[in-house]
């Protein structure tokens, strides 16, 4: 709880950084704030306290996911120092502030134990993001992205709110525990249309937020239009928070009513996998490729939600952690390349291995990890999800996911091949220490988590 309070205060203080002209120090203040929050977050480990009349509960599940959110944000903040180096620093204090507010929303989404809190969390997460997506004011694509995201996001919020209201009407409670008790005491509620429609609406809302097919149409345009750094932030932090919230609600409250939503969610998983991966095959730009790849990864994550098995939460945690780390690495490379070459086409990577060995190695590791090639962490993450799904009897879904891993490997390999294509004209890219640190750290983590997965597997 102290973590949540501190990070909110840091966010507000960061806004004042612009007012009082802290310039470059604003960023480092925010970074220090996030690190402090990270420490405070894990100091609550194993306590499991609830606050505000059981509105939020900081159990290990919430704390572990918060750890991922905070670490991802920290890494993205470190990239800011290079990305925004030519922008007047007091102009972008609000961007840092908004990133931190998004993070606050995400932290609420992992720890809610009351549906109103879930809604608040999602809104706190979403509203700053709408602004962030449009933060490149001079670029019409960025504006378009913000507009689309806002409209679609509002719809999704509407669905969620409807779902919450209907569920409240049927069960008489906003509390997860109250809903669970009511549903298990009244097994016939599966036939209650209010419950059924409520659950489905909630599901639709979540699928919107995590960009799963068929509610993904906003994602590619929004991801492409938003400033690249923000896209990276959306693809990692928002997706992680969305899935943490999704799993928390559905595995805890609706496990008994799985007949209602499991068939539909299975279809969504299959569609997400195929649409995401097959569309990614045809992308020429890395940014759009990563957008579709991020959609396809939602498909694997849905498998963990479906499995609802005692290790599924660990599998979900593991996958989101690994996916975030590797994706941030990929986005870091993308930002650097785009700045120098002015394009994000796959060909712009030519000659990287020679001219920028660090970027080359980082790209190789990140994309191999995303493709799920052992011994990188992405493989173990996929494997872990497959195991839990298989244990719950979703063998057919695992086979479909396996086929999709193969399609995925193809387009990720195209990127890697491009890194190793010779190009004498490739330019040497100068990056500052923080940028290099992020590249090294994410690449190392993508490797190390794969070799020693035990810690993360047993975390929760």
């Amino acid at each position: 709880m102290t973590a949540l309070i501190v990070i909110s205060l840091v966010g507000i203080a960061t806004l004042f950084g612009g007012v009082f002209n802290w310039k470059g120090k604003t960023l480092w203040f925010a970074v220090a704030g996030i690190i402090a929050t990270l420490v405070l977050n894990f100091m609550d480990w194993n306590t499991g306290y609830s606050y505000f009349n059981q509105m939020v509960k900081f159990d290990n599940y919430a704390l572990a996911f918060n750890g991922i959110l905070l670490t991802s944000t920290l890494l993205i903040m470190l990239l800011c120092s290079h990305h925004y180096r030519n922008v007047a620093q007091n102009m972008i204090a609000d961007i840092y502030g908004l990133i931190i507010f998004t993070l606050v929303g995400g932290m609420l989404m992992t720890s809610y134990s009351n549906l109103t809190m879930l809604f608040l969390g999602i809104e706190i997460l979403s509203i700053p993001l709408y602004i962030l997506a449009g933060s490149n004011r001079a670029d019409s694509k960025s504006n378009e992205s913000a507009m689309k995201y806002f409209l679609m996001g509002s719809f999704a919020s509407g669905f969620l709110l409807f779902g919450i209201a209907l569920l409240f009407g049927a069960t008489g409670s906003f509390h997860l525990e109250g809903i669970k008790t009511f549903l298990s005491n009244n097994p016939s509620s599966a036939n209650n249309s209010m419950v059924a429609v409520g659950i489905l609406m909630l599901m639709v809302g979540f699928l919107f937020k995590v960009a799963a097919v068929p509610f993904h149409f906003w994602a590619p345009d929004v991801y492409e239009g938003a400033p690249t750094l923000i896209t990276g932030f959306m693809a990692t932090v928002v997706k992680t928070a969305g899935f943490a919230a999704f799993y928390r609600l559905f595995s805890y409250c609706f496990a008994d009513l799985s007949g209602l939503w499991v068939p539909l969610l299975s279809i969504a998983a299959v569609l997400t996998l195929f649409v995401g991966n097959i569309t990614a095959l045809y992308q020429k730009g890395i940014k759009r490729l990563l957008a579709y790849s991020s959609i396809s990864h939602a498909g694997y994550l849905i498998l963990a939600v479906l499995a609802m098995q005692d290790q599924s939460d660990s599998a979900l945690l593991f996958y989101t952690a690994v996916y975030s780390v590797s994706t941030i690495c990929a986005f870091a490379v993308l930002i650097a390349i785009k700045e120098v070459t002015g394009t994000d086409s796959i060909e712009s990577l030519h000659g990287m291995a020679r001219k920028n060995p660090l970027l080359g190695i980082a790209t190789t590791i990140a994309f191999l990890s995303l493709a799920g090639i052992p011994p990188l962490a992405g493989f173990f993450a996929k494997y872990f999800i497959f195991v839990t799904a298989m244990k719950s009897g979703y063998g057919w879904l695992v086979l479909i996911a396996v086929i999709n891993s193969l399609i995925g490997a193809y387009y990720y390999l195209r990127v890697i091949n491009s890194v190793f294509t010779k190009n004498e004209q490739a330019e040497k890219i100068e990056l500052n220490w923080a940028y290099n640190l992020v590249l090294i750290l994410t690449a190392l983590l993508s490797l190390a988590i794969g070799i020693a997965p035990d810690f993360l597997v047993n975390l929760i």
């Binding site: 090639i373 052992p374 494997y383 497959f386 086979l399 086929i403 193969l406 193809y410």
Partner: protein, 485 residues
């Protein structure tokens, strides 16, 4: 602990090699592989010829998921370890023929590959085995990508093999969920006793990975182009060692784990193998390019090995083990010779070659001996293996054996025809100033020739070392199938 050394040593030296200079890289790699060979010799002499798994290392890795780092060596894997570590010095030596750009990276990848291969041949935990299986793919992918001549072929190869591997992963996960103790340990897999119906479909999930890697007809379409377009060290690694991963895995992970399915599908699989044997040989007869010819010939020979394994009797398995070793030695020799010819004449087309024997008699003689080993002339290494294999297939079904036996006849046809056109006959413009073998080339070819003859004349030590393990494996299979009936 020696198992651990054999896995770790090439990995560490390989990683260090990335940092070394280009000039010294080949020498350093050679030293590393020779140290490994010495360690293998030591392993060979301290190995007790029993069915026991020896030099066992068993560490928990991801305990909550039943994953162990468990490696060990028995009479079957020791042959494979020998194959890998024996061939690698030759492959490194023979690659001195060409100048490779960024050669330190090439040798580093070769050593990392060696480590992964030893891992595949020694792991006794399904998960670990899978990791090594895939890990072996990454270095060879980069070798083909960076030094090969055709990227499309490389990507096709990678995706083809990855496809098989992923299905195998699904199969392994399924087996894991069925084990009582939720463990990947091979002993837990052996104790599975799955119902026959389940075994039948799990068999294909797993076997498809091996069938692609070997390759068994009709999963071979990646192979000829990949062999031809690869840099020679890549071709040697692929054909000499890597495809044996599939064959070895059939012995280790299919026969004892899914005995009922192996019994049920043996006709189908051996049938496919026999088709592959004849098909490969038939296409080889009409090849104009030496390297492609060797690629198809390799496919034909390997089909016989797979058939011998599926026959699942003593002769079939013993023959397969010794033939895997012999085939590896011969194929490295043959591809090296193709490389020498290409280097000197600038062509691999048979019709542009001829009369080399009159220019380089020693070279032609060495080539002849390796070639005879490949066509299984008695007293060469190929004969021991193919004879046992055919005998094994014969015990299974005489008709299959008769059809598979054509591999020897057809093999003699295309090999001798090729030899006649390249080595004998009139000197052509391309071969007009064909130089005799250099000392460096002799260092590779002479030991290979010695091995061809030595194993052909006296294969007993090799057969003895694997016999107890093979017998034990067959007992295990039989006790299980009788238990079901």
């Amino acid at each position: 602990m020696i198992t651990l050394f054999l896995i770790a040593w090439p990995l560490i030296t390989g990683l260090l090699l990335f940092l070394s200079g280009e000039e010294s890289a080949r020498k350093l790699a050679l030293v590393s592989s020779l140290v490994q060979l010495v360690a293998t010799a030591f392993l060979f002499f301290s190995f007790q010829s029993t069915a026991e798994t020896q030099f066992l290392v068993d560490w928990p890795w991801v305990q909550s998921l039943g994953i162990h780092f468990k490696v060990g060596i028995d009479g079957i894997s020791i042959i494979m370890v020998l194959l890998t570590n024996l061939l690698l010095p030759f492959i490194i030596l023979s690659s001195g023929l060409n100048r490779y750009d960024k050669s330190n990276a090439l040798y580093a990848l070769m050593l990392i590959m060696q480590s992964a291969l030893i891992g595949v041949f020694t792991s006794l935990d399904g998960f670990l085995y899978y990791i090594f299986w895939e890990l072996a793919l990454i270095p060879v992918y980069f070798i083909l990508l960076l030094w090969g001549s055709n990227r499309k072929v490389t990507v096709k190869f990678f995706l083809y093999t990855l496809a098989g591997s992923l299905f195998m992963l699904a199969g392994l996960i399924y087996l894991y969920t069925q084990t009582e103790s939720k463990s990947f340990d091979i002993d837990a897999f052996y104790a599975l006793n799955l119902p026959a119906e389940t075994q039948k479909w799990v068999f294909w999930l797993i076997f498809i990975a091996f069938a692609i890697k070997i390759p068994v007809f009709p999963f071979h379409s990646w192979q000829p182009a990949t062999y031809t377009e690869s840099p020679t060290p890549g071709t040697m690694l692929l054909s000499g060692i890597m495809l044996k991963m599939g064959l070895y895995s059939m012995i280790r992970w299919i026969l004892p784990v899914l005995p009922e399915a192996a019994d049920h599908w043996d006709n189908a699989v051996i049938g496919l193998c026999v088709i592959g044997i004849i098909y490969g040989a038939w296409i080889a007869i009409n090849q104009k390019d030496i390297k492609t010819l060797f690629a198809f010939s390799s496919m034909s020979h390997v089909g016989l090995i797979a058939a011998g394994i599926m026959a699942a009797n003593v002769h079939g398995l013993q023959g397969s083990l010794i033939q895997m070793l012999s085939h590896g030695i011969n194929v490295v020799g043959l591809f090296f010779i193709a490389d020498i010819i290409y280097k000197r004449t600038g062509t691999r087309e048979i019709e542009h070659l001829g009369g080399i024997r009159s220019k380089a008699p020693v070279f032609a003689t060495l080539f002849m001996i390796i070639l005879l080993g490949s066509v299984a002339l008695p007293l060469t290494n190929g004969f021991v293996g193919e004879f046992l294999l055919l005998s094994g297939v014969y015990q299974f079904n005489a008709w299959y054996a008769a059809a598979a036996g054509t591999t020897i006849i057809l093999g003699a046809v295309y090999m001798l025809k090729m030899y006649q056109h390249t080595m004998l006959g009139d000197v052509q413009t391309a071969t007009a100033d064909f130089a005799e073998v250099t000392l460096q080339e002799k260092l590779v070819l002479v030991p290979i020739v010695i091995l061809v003859i030595a194993i052909g004349v006296y294969p007993k030590p090799l057969l003895d070392i694997s016999a107890p393990a093979v017998n034990h494996l067959l007992e295990q299979m039989n006790s299980y199938t009788t238990y079901l009936r």
